[in-house]
Amino acid sequence: MPTVIVNGREIEIGADERLNCIQAAQRADVEIPHYCWHKDLSVVASCRMCLVEVGERKPDGTIAMVPKLVPGCQTPVKAETVIVSNSPAVLAAQKATLEYLLLNHPLDCPVCDQAGECFLQDYSYKYGRGYSRLQEPKLLKPDKDHIGDQITLFTDRCVMCTRCVRFTREISGTGELQVIERGSHAEIDIFPGEPCNNKLAGNVVDICPVGALCSKDFLYEQRVWWLESTSSVCPNCSTGCSIRVDQNKDVVYRFKPRHNPLAQGEFMCDEGRFGYKYINSPDRLTQPLVRLEGDQQPTDWETILPGVRAAIEGAITAKPQAVAAVLSPWMTVEEAYLLAGYLKNLSKEIRLYLGPVRVVGDDDCYPKDVHGNAVAPTRFTIRAEKCPNRQGVEAIIRHFQGSTLSMDDFWKAVSAGQIDAAYLVGGDPHEPWLTDEQGALLDTLKLTIVQDILPSAASRRAHYVLPGGSFAERDGTFVNHAGLAQPIKRAIHSPEEARPDNRILWELAGRRGLFNAGRLRNEIAEHISALQALTHPLGEFGVMLDTPGKPTNASVVANAATSP
């Protein structure tokens, strides 16, 4: 194994790994500050923040250093490479670079949204000088609100790392952003009338190491140090991007992509990023409702759960094959297992249907060429299937029933009068999951139980309405398009009386104790062969259902180290 010496410490790297000095130093827990370098973008070595001393250890043990500082991002390491990032020359260069970057940078940290997660702040604190020697006025450039519908540019905060420019050229391929002017007048801008509105545009805000590009959605909403982050999975398409849910006082303010080499890589799409609004929606179902003499009336959980249980048991006693349950592809594996297990335990003849799977167009692959056609190799895909867990729920239904039945089958059975009682789990918060005509068909049922988060044609007709939780309020597992099982974690409390679905189903199934996703996952893995990979700890990145034992590539894990 090749050895690299970082600040006197020897570390081993893989024989076929291609690392630069920054990555090699990360393995040795040494931070080499950098702005312009990003793991997924090309190298420009323009910010000069990562200057280090580099040399080579000769076979006889002597060390020959390059007689000048070199950018760490642009310098690959090989066997016996020596990296020094703490020598006086390097520290002086870091100070000088930061002083230069701060020449025209306004000191508006108090009003800047990036403050608190800004690498200019962090590096200035760790490596900077602490005061400015500039006596001339700072160059003030006008802010550019027209950069995009979702992004805004505070021009004077920019440090010209050009990460955003490279992102639009290399990842989205749309190339809206560019550098105009030269020297100290250089600015990020768009072509007139061509704003940066591609479906990945929100990522330029994340990769901006300073507060130059800001999200209009999040602008001035919160100071970042008040946000609490929870690792989760974006539920808005079947790619299942790993994300962070940032919340404060049970209000979700933003999603941020989280590095996951098994799922999506580094980024996320705007559809997912801004698809959180429904969580804070005032329309949310917040009270259990029961239909008494024609009217839905609010009730409490202690009353409604025995009522629901009795109603289902009554319907099964009457005619078990006329009882149906619709399991939404927005449910977690655990929730689907609880509901399917509970119902199938009561009667094997109950039919389980897979809820509506919304498919919009085709998979949207990036980068694009100038005509909008996808170019190989694909760097990011927005899936056409707009639900997070079809595979997981299907696996559960297949286990209990042998085969899955679709939503079309359900509506056919309802219009044919074959169904008397239905337990409907909604889910899709973005589009109504049933039409008004389909809703009208539900009037023919003797018992309708709806578990959902937003009102729908079904919830208005239901005999029992169970207000559930959005994905940010639940613990569980989502299985993405490629069979990657990832954990979602509870970030916020449900509004008012609403409860996370897993708790509703846990109590409905009459289980003792509290719902625990990890324990239930083990139980599922024991019973269902298709999901037996869930015995492995899901960890940060999740587990592939077909190749669970495969260790995650070591370099992949190492590269996951915190990086701006």
Binding site: A96, D143, R223
Partner: protein, 207 residues
Amino acid sequence: MAIQDKEICWVSEPELSFWESTFLPAIAQGLKTTVGHIFDNKTVTQEFPEVKPNLPANFKGVHRLNRDDEGRVKCVACFMCATACPAHCIYIDAAEAPWEDRDKYPERFVIDELKCIYCGMCEEACPCDAIELTSEFDISGQTREEMLYDKDKLLSIFDQTVKLPKDPVRTHGGVLGPASEIVQPMPPGKVPPPLPIISRPANDSSH
């Protein structure tokens, strides 16, 4: 700049002598004060509210929000006061400023005067001297809601107290300190006055 180990000065408790460890000198010293008061006939009771108390210059009373030269609220809604506040009594809603020269301003600024412990941390934290504690202490209200002071109320306290000879003690009689001045963009061709040069630390060897 991060705090270096060499910049930290560790102090330890002084050792007590045998005589001190009996605590008798300390008790005698305390009793001296007590006994002294028995023979002290000076009246210390103040006839409030007929007589207003003579408060020390650094008394911390009710807050005010300062105005800038154009009469606008000086606050830039940076939330530093709310972050520093140990009683969590400051609520701010930020929004984009309606003015050209500012990015952000407080759309709503509320201080719960009942929750506040008048520690002055908000004033310390404020980067633009927008919030200050005045020497007004006799505030009252009929309901809890009344004691939630909003932006208008806090600005009106500024209007009331700015002309008082005593207020504001921390901003030199209405003239706000140099830290509070908002840097205006310079018209082209005009050279601004030089900023004070900060002397470089002696141990800075980078240049």
